[in-house]
């Protein structure tokens, strides 16, 4: 069908279009934010710019072009006209599109086409005014009624009545002719949340969503109240300490298994494992090359370049905690390193810690071009 797939006759799977039944038009609610303040709220596709859906309209370049053009104030009803093209009115009874009147199209084109020429753009060719009915003819067509808003919901309306893009509101630049876009820029005036200790405004939905947005990540602080024997996940769930870094996900965002392994201390190579919410070093007694490879791969650091067993530092304050290689370490295929180590005792027979240096694997080379493509002798 020229128009969208036919509606299922009896609510089953969408029936294949019956060639005889070419009238598959139907109305759908307007969802394009740009045109949510029209005097009508049903539309149908394809529209007058050849778009087959509102999704296609929303990412079309006309949906960028018209709002920018509205800022020039070239024509009071330009946004209304643009929406009659992007999301044409659908008559709920006849299920037919209601076009803009030819006079509306002509007014918009005559007043705004020259502005586009300045930036080397043409007026959208699909919107030839001849295709639209005369307003005095018997065909119904759309003209702006009183009270039609010349700004779209994506705009900010200056006190003077001009429209500027929403992204210009409180952006620090004076865009409205009366500078009203930079008035009342406090967060609360814009229904936003002000980051404590800074002027940054964020949407309330961004608070405690696991993504830091404020300086010092204050929007992600105090987001969960966990019991003493629990730790907070990145998404602020609470998980028992003993389940942290056991190699299995307990937080729904798996953050109880993040950052369990690190190569720390000055040389940046002594292996440290964070397990059941405490930091451990790894006893070298049963260490092997496979575990060295696993360590570097898990850290995204490539492959081991050197492995050594470092004597424990005597007299270090507090008792060192040791992890040992699990007897069944090789049976835990695909598991992370922390799942292949176990707490056995506070002793380590050799009193030596594992130290691994990793080297990134070769990357970013172009062997097909030879070593020095730019420097071939002549």
């Amino acid at each position: 069908c020229m128009s969208p797939p036919c509606q299922p006759a009896c609510g089953g799977a969408s029936a294949a279009c019956d060639p005889r039944n070419t009238n598959c038009s139907r109305c759908e609610p307007i969802t394009l934010e740009l045109c949510m303040n029209l005097p009508y709220n049903l539309t149908s596709f394809p529209n007058y710019l050849g778009h087959l859906s509102q999704r296609e309209s929303s990412v079309s370049w006309e949906s960028s072009l018209f709002p920018a053009l509205v800022q020039t104030g070239c024509y009071q009803y330009l946004m209304f006209y643009a929406c009659t093209l992007l999301v044409p009115k659908c008559d709920p009874v006849s299920l037919q599109k209601v076009p803009p009147c030819r006079s509306l199209c002509r007014s918009a084109k005559e007043k705004c086409e020259s502005v586009l020429g300045i930036v080397g753009l043409q007026w959208p060719e699909d919107s030839d005014c001849g295709q639209f009915p005369e307003d005095r003819g018997n065909a119904t067509c759309l003209l702006p009624e009183d009270g039609v808003d010349e700004c779209s919901p994506s705009h900010f309306k200056c006190r003077s009545g001009r429209c500027v893009l929403g992204s210009k509101r409180c952006d620090g630049h004076l865009d409205c002719d009366d500078h009203s876009d930079e008035d009342n820029c406090g967060c609360s005036e814009r229904a936003l949340w002000e980051c404590p200790g800074s002027k940054v405004c964020i949407k309330p939905t961004m608070i405690c969503d696991g993504f830091p947005d404020c300086p010092l990540q204050v929007d992600e602080a105090n987001c969960s109240v966990c019991r003493d024997n629990e730790l907070a996940c990145n998404n602020h769930q609470c998980v028992h300490r003993t389940l942290w870094c056991d190699g299995k996900k307990h937080c729904s965002d798996s953050s109880d298994e993040w950052d369990c392994v690190s190569l720390s201390d000055q040389s940046g190579s002594v292996l440290t494992v964070f397990k059941t919410a405490a930091e451990y070093q790894v006893c070298a007694d049963e260490w092997n090359p496979d575990l060295s490879r696993l360590t570097c791969n898990q850290l995204g650091l490539g492959v081991p370049s050197s492995v050594s067993m470092v004597p424990d530092q005597p007299g270090v304050p507090g008792r060192r905690r040791w992890l040992h290689v699990h007897p069944e370490w090789s049976l835990r295929n695909g598991s992370a390193l922390q799942a292949r180590l176990e707490k056995r005792s506070h002793a380590c027979h050799s009193r030596r810690r594992v130290s691994v240096l990793c080297a990134r694997e070769e990357c970013g080379l172009r062997p097909a071009l030879g070593l020095h493509p730019h420097r071939t002798k002549r």
Partner: protein
């Protein structure tokens, strides 16, 4: 790629073609290790099912894959949870191949940036892809040299959109060298001082209407911003499978 040229065979061994069913090439992608690639989130809009996709590497001519090409199915597609379609922010995805590729002279991973490492404004880097050339879609992989543009200068080109820290800008005044539809997800790479290694700083994401005379550079997902997230996704999907 607008204003570019045909690339030499094997010149960009990390470039891959993300292909779906009968549509063939849909987007570009970039190999970052033997089993992982990067592309942009908007390529998967409405088509997040991994079974719909395959990745082809070692390609120069889309129409004649040739002996160097390798094809892999996709095991997992991980779209950034904060991908925002309206403002095209957090436009990045990690793609897990169903098996490792064989590293050859024509199939090689690119280097990821170090934490905080960014290309300096006005430095020259390369973009590649099989996207629109302004007058036609190419069969052969195109390459173009672009200049990195500072965030503030870039914002001045774009009324409609906000250039966020997750974005990187590169290009020239419109009509010269730029990426275009079909290049999305492909690499913006810069050569290291050693003249040997190349590092990935951007993924082709969006821009002005690339075949009009409207001013404006191309906008790329800023890979440096996402490197920790990328490493974390690889770790989770390698070691924490259910």
């Amino acid at each position: 790629i607008l204003g570019g040229r045909v690339s030499r065979r094997g010149a960009w061994p990390w470039q891959c073609s993300l292909q779906s069913g009968q549509s063939g090439h849909v987007c570009g992608c970039v190999l970052i290790s033997r089993q992982w690639a990067l592309t942009v989130a908007h390529c998967f809009e409405g088509r997040e099912n991994a079974e719909l996709w395959k990745v082809v590497l070692g390609l120069t001519n889309l129409d004649h894959p040739g002996p160097h090409s390798q094809t892999r199915s996709v095991r997992a597609i991980i779209v950034h949870p904060r991908y925002n379609r309206a403002v095209v922010d957090y436009d990045i995805s990690v793609v897990q191949l169903d098996s490792e590729v064989e590293e050859t002279a024509h199939v090689r991973p690119v280097c990821l940036p170090q934490p905080g490492q960014l290309p300096s404004p006005d430095s020259y880097c390369y973009i590649t892809g099989w996207g629109h050339m302004g007058n036609r879609m190419p069969f052969k992989l195109q390459e173009g040299e672009v200049r990195i543009i500072s965030m503030s200068q870039c914002q001045s080109y774009f009324d409609m959109k906000t250039i966020t820290p997750r974005m990187l800008c590169a290009g020239y005044e419109a009509g010269t060298v730029d990426s275009c539809m079909g290049d999305s997800g492909g690499p913006l790479v810069c050569e290291e001082e050693d003249g040997l290694h190349w590092r990935l700083f951007g993924l082709t994401s969006w821009g002005s209407v690339c075949f009009s005379k409207v001013l404006g550079p191309g906008v790329y997902s800023n890979v440096t911003h996402f490197t920790p997230w990328i490493q974390q996704q690889i770790y989770i999907h390698t070691y924490l499978t259910d």
